[in-house]
Symmetry: C2
């Protein structure tokens, strides 16, 4: 276990609904800008690599105690304002029996990609309460131990999950995904409805188990034109989020979405993610100031000297201009080779610089 | 050779300065919206594959007669409003002696990536008039034969070329590039100045040889935050374009740049490229209506049924609203498996639909 570092702004003993993170989700003033980092429990961290030496990625996801431990260790080591449950957006696809694998170095892969209508029709919805119970158990264990900061639950959005299911892994151009989408809209809609239903019940169960907020990862929605996003993806993200915002704040995340932030906002969410490809002030204008914003540091900035990191963070804080509702984060997950010290430096720097 | 298809809107015998393409570059009214397609001479086309069966990609680039033939064949087969000289943005790197290769299926690779200051200092500027003369010769040959439409010359922008040089090929996160940029700004600036100088003389020579317009490809600039783009990339693109706009219209192209179109415009260009990740009307507003716009169809749309292609093209034309200065194009190059018939359908459809 890592040494517990409680940052100067630690929320220990503050009821979680009064935490900086949850207040920022509600666009209420906070004593400092809350910060957490996507993939904050990941390969850049030696404690995490030690766990992974003993078990595979999927084994770790399935092991509720270890997943909780990894979640808590990272949050405490960094002194961030929120934890995010250790899991993967693709776990929802595993009970569909498509052969989900995480190949060392190559990322996720689906052994039997789903590309034709017959295979889509053969996909069976399943009971998420049963088949994904190990995630809820990890949430319960984390909540029991981690009382000082809120815990974020999450799921992949239907479009992003569908793209993995169809491409069989990561993709550069999403040709197979878009071919199905354009070429057989009825089959596409059936697939998206199936996924939206699974995601929705998965998210509700995560809140039941104790998640204090939810992030919907539509990581690859930015490969779509805004018109296609609105037609083929957004309604299903809205369905996946049905009834969630009423129970816990929702962060709606995507990358390369600078030209469609308003469309993402329309699909749902209390806080909208913006990557680094747009200045935060212009992103917030596009989203609307009646929503929060999460972002927007380039993850590669963490490889730079600390003065450069400070400069880039200050630029973002200045553009947020102290307006309530900004959650500091990277524009995408922490990369594997990132220096741990730089991650800690960023967290402390944002806390200090934004103290009000 | 392909059968010569002269589209209903062919500019045959019209002086090129009065062609729809050149007039659109100057934001003058045109009888129809001009269209050409990035990588219109490429693997999707059987005639091109036949040539490539006989020679490698680099051999084809070096063979001025074949390059001219491939250029002309594609432009005539499609009935587009402009040809673009067959070449590659990385040819400028070849005389630097870094081991440029095009590996079958894997795209370009640099055998000896340049990552440390000593290697940057060891790079020698060279005489582009001499070492890249085969490109100018291809331009002269094309101009002599292809009298009906303008010919576009092009180069990669300093940032995009530097990213290949440093990463050694394509990249997902550009970690090495940004590490050098952030970690050793002096070395970065030296590299960018070297590249900008080479590009600038290369572009001037292409105009000398007969290129009627120039496109600067900053294909990967969209991986930068707008702040980093303005600091580390834009001044060098401006330097690369020095004196060019005065001689021929300049199209300034990038992808994933929805959040920094204004910054790209500030760096130079008469026409600014916009990919499909932003609606054309909002992109043009961000660029400013005192510049032209090129784009912005998703290349994968060409895999869709023709009704879907028509719908997407119509949406773009409606958003352009007949304002002079729109050049229709894809947001990035034609993909290898694209059906040729669909490409022709798009060209004809845009011509018909935009007839004024």
């Amino acid at each position: 276990m890592l040494k517990v570092v409680s940052g100067s702004h630690s929320q220990i003993h503050t009821p979680l609904r009064e935490s900086a993170f949850i207040k920022a989700c509600r666009r209420e003033p906070t004593p400092h800008t809350p910060i957490w980092l996507m993939r904050q429990a990941g390969r850049y961290m030696p404690e995490y690599r030690a766990v992974r030496d003993r078990m595979s990625f999927l084994e770790l996801c399935h092991d509720s105690e270890q997943a909780a431990d990894v979640t808590i260790t990272a949050a405490r080591a960094l002194g961030v304002d929120a934890a995010i449950i250790f899991a993967d957006i693709l776990l929802v696809l595993e009970p569909l029996g498509v052969g989900l694998e995480f190949v060392k170095g190559d990322g996720p892969s689906i052994r039997e990609p789903v590309r034709d209508p017959a295979r889509i029709d053969a996909l069976q919805p399943y009971d998420t309460a049963d088949r994904l119970s190990y995630v809820y158990e990890a949430i319960r264990l984390t909540r029991a131990e981690l009382t000082e900061v809120p815990l974020i639950g999450f799921a992949g959005a239907p479009f992003t999950l569908a793209s993995y299911l169809i491409e069989g892994g990561g993709s550069r151009n999403y040709v197979a995904t878009k071919q199905l989408m354009y070429g057989n809209e009825a089959a596409w809609q059936r697939l998206m409805e199936l996924l939206a239903g699974l995601i929705n019940s998965y998210l509700h169960s995560q809140i039941d188990a104790g998640a204090n907020a939810i992030q919907l990862f539509d990581s690859w929605a930015g490969c779509l034109s805004p018109t296609d996003y609105a037609r083929f993806a957004a309604p299903h993200s809205t369905a996946a989020l049905r009834g969630i915002s009423e129970r816990a704040p929702v962060i709606h995340f995507g990358t390369a979405t600078s030209g469609m932030l308003g469309d993402i906002r329309s699909a749902g969410g209390d806080v909208i993610g913006a990557d680094w490809r747009i200045p935060l002030d212009r992103a917030w204008e596009a989203i609307g100031h009646d929503r929060g914003i999460q972002g927007n540091l380039d993850p590669v900035t963490l490889f730079a000297p600390t003065e450069t990191i400070a400069q880039a963070a200050d630029d973002i804080l200045e553009r947020a201009a102290g307006r309530p509702g900004h959650i500091f984060n990277l524009g995408h997950g922490i990369l594997p080779q990132t220096p741990v010290d730089h991650v800690k430096f960023l967290v402390d720097h944002v806390h200090e610089k934004s103290s009000r």
